[in-house]
Amino acid sequence: MSVLSTPAGIARAAVLDLSAPRARLRRERLFQAVLLGATLIALVVMLSLLFDVLGDGAGRIRTEFFTNYTSRRAEDTGIRTGLTGSLSLMVLVAGMTFPIGVGAGIYLEVFAPDNRFTRFMQVNIANLAGVPSVVYGLLAAAMFVYILNFGRTLISGALALTLLILPVIIVASREAIRAVPPSIFNGALALGATPWQATRKQVLPVAMPGVLTGTILALSRAVGETAPILVAGAVFSRRADNAPWDILEAFGALPVQVYDFIKRPQAEFQIEAAAAGIIVMLAVLLTMNSGAIILRNRYARQR
């Protein structure tokens, strides 16, 4: 930094290439090409992954794959437990994170006084976002499974995922609320609304598309998370599907099912069934993300 603080410093740092213009131009183009190439590597890797998964798993996508339970015989195995489990997890997690996350976002953005405690909350949320997801699994395994005695059940898994994505939803809600012009809030106050009335009737409707987009993206992260629910006790066997909506029963999830397939030694499981499971999972994620983008675009046009 200190080098750049004076014009002379910038001059010393900058003027170093005194070669012929043509050679310079060649080097400039090469530099740009290398940067572009490096950017594309990650994307090429991603595309090759997609094609690989499609090639390995597309043949397995049949009706039975969705309706069968997991089986020792590879050709009969299915992801029913995972599908129902992920669906009920999703409903529970959405039902818990949305009010808590948006409520916390409203509090921090509209009501919180600017004091030490508020700043501590903010730093804490930033740090929570960096805690590895498997640690949320440990939290669930000790706190929900044993101390609160829920056992290795749907509610333990859902709580683990809820706490995991809560910081993401809080941050997204805060950004959406901050983007609403303060004049709307102040105008409502001037007309006699209470702060809460102004927030609920004026600010929130404007902020809602942003809030929903952030929530959907966070939920799509929760759909793909494996480690926390694995540690919290998710299973892949049929018994997890006995009562998929009972929050105090065993539960499964799509990514846990995929993990189980990958761990088996036979190629029909490890490669084909896992790939088919991954295709289903990616399709779900793609649907959710497109939904978020469509929502964002529709409301952006209306305004």
């Binding site: 080098v3 910038i10 740092a13 400039e28 009501f111 590895p132 494996t226 480690a227």
Partner: protein, 317 residues
């Protein structure tokens, strides 16, 4: 008004205080505060369970042995010969994967950041950036599948099957590196964009080319933002679980050989939970002891990164 006599009106019954106490409003505020406090409760709960269960582990085994022994086999009878509780192999496994991941993600991520911030036309950027975000959204168990079924076989062909075992640190590390590219790229791009245009103009004015400007003016000016991006990415690599659980193996090994099977701290947690670790057993408590080490490492990195970011923000305001 024709009359000069004062108009006598009864004193108006006007008070500027709210007509009601607005208990509902206060109740709502209390509820919102409670929701915000959930995040603090979460942190406290994490610290509580890690200490509660982890400390039981150290009640049974020596902390010196935990930090210095070179083998990790916390299974079975604690008094038996095969029972060893040195955390070093797990830490070295985690660090090996992290170093490999960073050596992929730092150059590629910084190159992407420089390209997106300084070269890419708006239309190209509008395509590349969402694609990087999609990459960041791929579930890690999918990336683990990718490491095990695509990267490892490729590595075994390029080198030789004797030098690369079926489960190995290299394959897992490379894919963890791919996973954290978006983190490095997007935060570094923000840092590069925050550099005032005056510095660019000054550099061009002195006759510098674009590449020289990027390397010798923009990167140094954005250094603190870039460093914090790398530190955050490092924290994610240390905490990454599914890729290493699938592709790196289940054999705690104190080694720097990227071709050999290892186990990371996160990999051990998943493996031990999958086994018969009933509550109260030493194996169960060992999971939380590892959790403490993992939490402390990532927490320290987060705090450092946030510090650097905050200082960096002040630089140009």
């Amino acid at each position: 008004m024709t009359t000069l006599s004062p108009v006598v009106t009864p004193a108006p019954d006007v008070s500027l205080a709210p007509r009601s106490n607005r208990y509902g409003e206060r109740l709502i505020l209390a509820v919102l505060w409670t929701f915000a406090a959930v995040s603090i409760a979460t942190t406290l709960a994490i610290v509580f369970v890690l200490l509660e269960e982890g400390v039981k582990f150290f009640g049974n085994v020596s902390i010196v042995e935990f930090l210095t022994d070179t083998e990790w086999r916390p299974f079975g009878d604690p008094l038996s010969e095969g029972f060893r509780i040195g955390v070093l192999p797990l830490v070295s496994g985690t660090l090996l994967v992290t170093v490999i991941a960073l050596s992929v993600a730092v150059p590629l991520g910084l190159a992407s950041a420089a390209y997106l911030s300084e070269y890419a036309p708006a239309r190209v950027r509008g395509v590349l950036k969402p694609m990087l975000e999609v990459l960041a959204g791929i579930p890690t168990v999918v990336l683990g599948y990718f490491a095990l079924t695509l990267v490892t076989p490729a590595l075994r062909t390029i080198f030789s099957p004797e030098r690369i075992s079926i489960f190995n640190a290299l394959s897992a590390g490379l894919v963890v590196g791919i996973m954290i590219i978006p983190t490095v790229a997007s935060l570094s791009e923000d840092a590069l964009r925050a550099v005032p245009d005056g510095l660019r103009a000054a550099s061009y004015g002195m006759g510098a080319t674009k590449s020289v400007t990027i390397r010798r003016v923009l990167f140094p000016a954005a250094l603190s933002g870039i460093v914090s991006a790398v530190i955050l990415a490092m924290g994610r690599a240390i905490g990454e679980t599914m890729i290493v659980a699938v592709a790196a193996g289940n054999l705690p090994t104190l080694t720097v050989n990227p071709g050999s099977q290892i186990q990371t701290m996160t990999g051990y947690i998943v493996q031990a939970v999958g086994g018969e670790a009933s509550r109260g057993s030493l194996t169960y408590n060992s999971i939380f002891a590892i959790g403490i080490v993992l939490f402390l490492m990532t927490f320290a990195l987060n705090i450092i990164a946030n510090r650097i970011v905050r200082r960096f923000r002040e630089a140009y305001e």
